[in-house]
């Protein structure tokens, strides 16, 4: 039986390789060995996802590999969460409200951004796809989110993204707004008033860090 750091490294490797069953059995082993759930998440599951993201940026991984890594990480988090006890959720640096704008159902990029931001320690409120502007605003207000992340893959729904950005900008305490998706570019994002543009999911944590200062 692997112990301590060695076990956390095994968990990270299993996440990176997208081996969900291995992640679950190793997380179970780690919990039984008395490793705190927070440590399992922060030192095992999240680093594994970050490694997968780095491999994606180097074109050694592609969307399928990144997706199965994200699923493996989420499975591990689901197992670890009930064991967090009174210490609560692992240190979340920012709350991010995330979703695909109204009229669009392409959520693969959004799902990966969610996984990458969670792996970087953020609390992500994923609203799914086809999300009306008002729902984004409600969730930003209700959760005191400092960041609003919007995604779309179609040119036909770019006006809906722009409208959501405009409404969010007009809020009393507007969030930082980051956008991403196939029809976007830095210039398109700036033109619609977003604070940041994410070219791909793996770069989302770095983008957020640069915007938050």
């Amino acid at each position: 039986m692997a112990k301590g750091n060695e076990l956390l490294e095994v968990i990270a490797a299993a996440v990176r390789e997208g081996m969900e069953e291995e992640v679950l059995s190793r997380c179970e082993e780690a919990l039984a060995a008395g490793i705190p759930a927070r440590e399992i998440i922060q030192e095992g599951l999240c680093p594994g996802m970050k490694e997968a993201g780095e491999l994606y940026e180097r074109h050694e991984y592609f969307l399928p590999e990144l997706l199965v890594a994200a699923e493996a990480m989420h499975a591990g988090i689901r197992m670890a969460l009930p064991h967090l006890g009174e210490s609560g959720a692992p240190g979340s640096s920012e709350t991010v409200v995330l979703g695909v704008v109204e009229g669009d159902v392409h959520e693969i990029g959004k799902n990966l951004v969610a996984a990458m931001l969670e792996a970087d320690g953020h609390r992500v409120i994923d609203l799914g796809y086809d999300v009306p502007p008002q729902r984004f605003l409600e969730q930003v207000r209700e959760n005191g989110a400092r960041v609003l992340a919007l995604s779309t893959m179609m040119t036909t729904t770019l006006p809906n993204m722009r409208r959501t950005v405009e409404l969010a900008r007009a809020m009393a305490d507007p969030p930082l707004i980051i956008v991403g998706g196939a029809p976007l570019s830095q210039a398109v994002a700036a033109d619609m008033g977003a604070d940041g543009y994410g070219e791909n999911a793996a770069g989302a944590p770095a983008l957020l860090r640069s915007l938050l200062g």
């Binding site: 074109h59 969307l63 399928p64 199965v68 693969i108 179609m154 036909t156 029809p183 976007l184 398109v188």
Partner: protein, 382 residues
Amino acid sequence: MSVYPRFRGKLIRPTVGMMRAASGIFHAHGRIGELLPLERVLCAAFHKEPDRVPVTHFLLGAARRLTGISYERFSRDPEAAAEAYIAANELLGGDVLYTVIDLSVEAADFGQEMVYPPYSTAYPDYRKPRIASVDDYERLEPFDPRRSPRMGMGVKLARILAKKAGIRYPVMGFVFGPLGVLNMMRGAPRLFADCARHPQKVKAALEVITEVLVDYARALCDTGVDAVMLDTLFASQSGVSRELWVEMEGVYARRIADEIRRNGALVALHNCGTRPYLDLQLEYMEPVIVSLADVPDDCADLAELKAKYGERTAIAGLIPTQSLLLESPKAIMELAREQIRVLAPGGGYVLAPACEYPPNLELANALAVVRAAKVYGKYPIK
């Protein structure tokens, strides 16, 4: 009906060798007079310099605005869609007629429920995926695409356009690639995960889909279209790895491409992914022309694309959709001018947007693309 005669019910088409020879005649004619769009495109497709660079505005859903029909009617009524496409070419001046309706045509006929928005492209209702569980991959059944609602419409649209185009325009049928069709029934996140975890089940579905798409391609060829365009979106760095693409789509797409050739039409290809695997797609489908949104994964820029692949296939594209959205018509003309300068010498280039012209965007930039071909695309390129 088409420009090609029939003998015992079968279309009699020129061979590729005959088309290549004809392109030489068109090339000579183009030096002294104006070519018809069909002549111009054939000339370019076979790497001869026509009178000027052929151009397509790539108006698909946007074409409906020229005849004032709803998006749903465009998506369901072949006569109305054909009228819109012809209006787009007549009014804006494009050189190619497409039969693309949307990317969900094939999936819808496999039973995927659809949404038909009033101002946007029809799309699958992912809340009700046709492939709801991994076991559903093995439950797909083949059918006759000629008798199915949406592919049947695709065949009717192709027949109408082939007839109306006469000898003026080349008509290009369209078939979405097998992995793309499956994506529309499962959703990309689940499909990609299933490719990793349940590859045999995914392949069982791809077999059935390919069987139907081969038949669909045959039916399109039989309408008299000049070429059939395959869209293998996932063969790019924004899709799957090179190895996975070969395994999950390349081997299936090859069968469709072979069928298109067997039925006498030219194979065309569209890939609007980032850093496409052009070498693999050429190996598996051998297209005469490839429409791209980005330079391939093994090229640094447009010049290397032309140098490395310009002899092997004709190239169409690569005016970025983002530029169409943001830039002025004058800036688009300058962008097109530069692409013409790099890609057009020696023929083998069709000026075009990287992907579908944004359906709700004003049409000034579509006009700019066409205008650029007429102003800057005259051969010899200066």
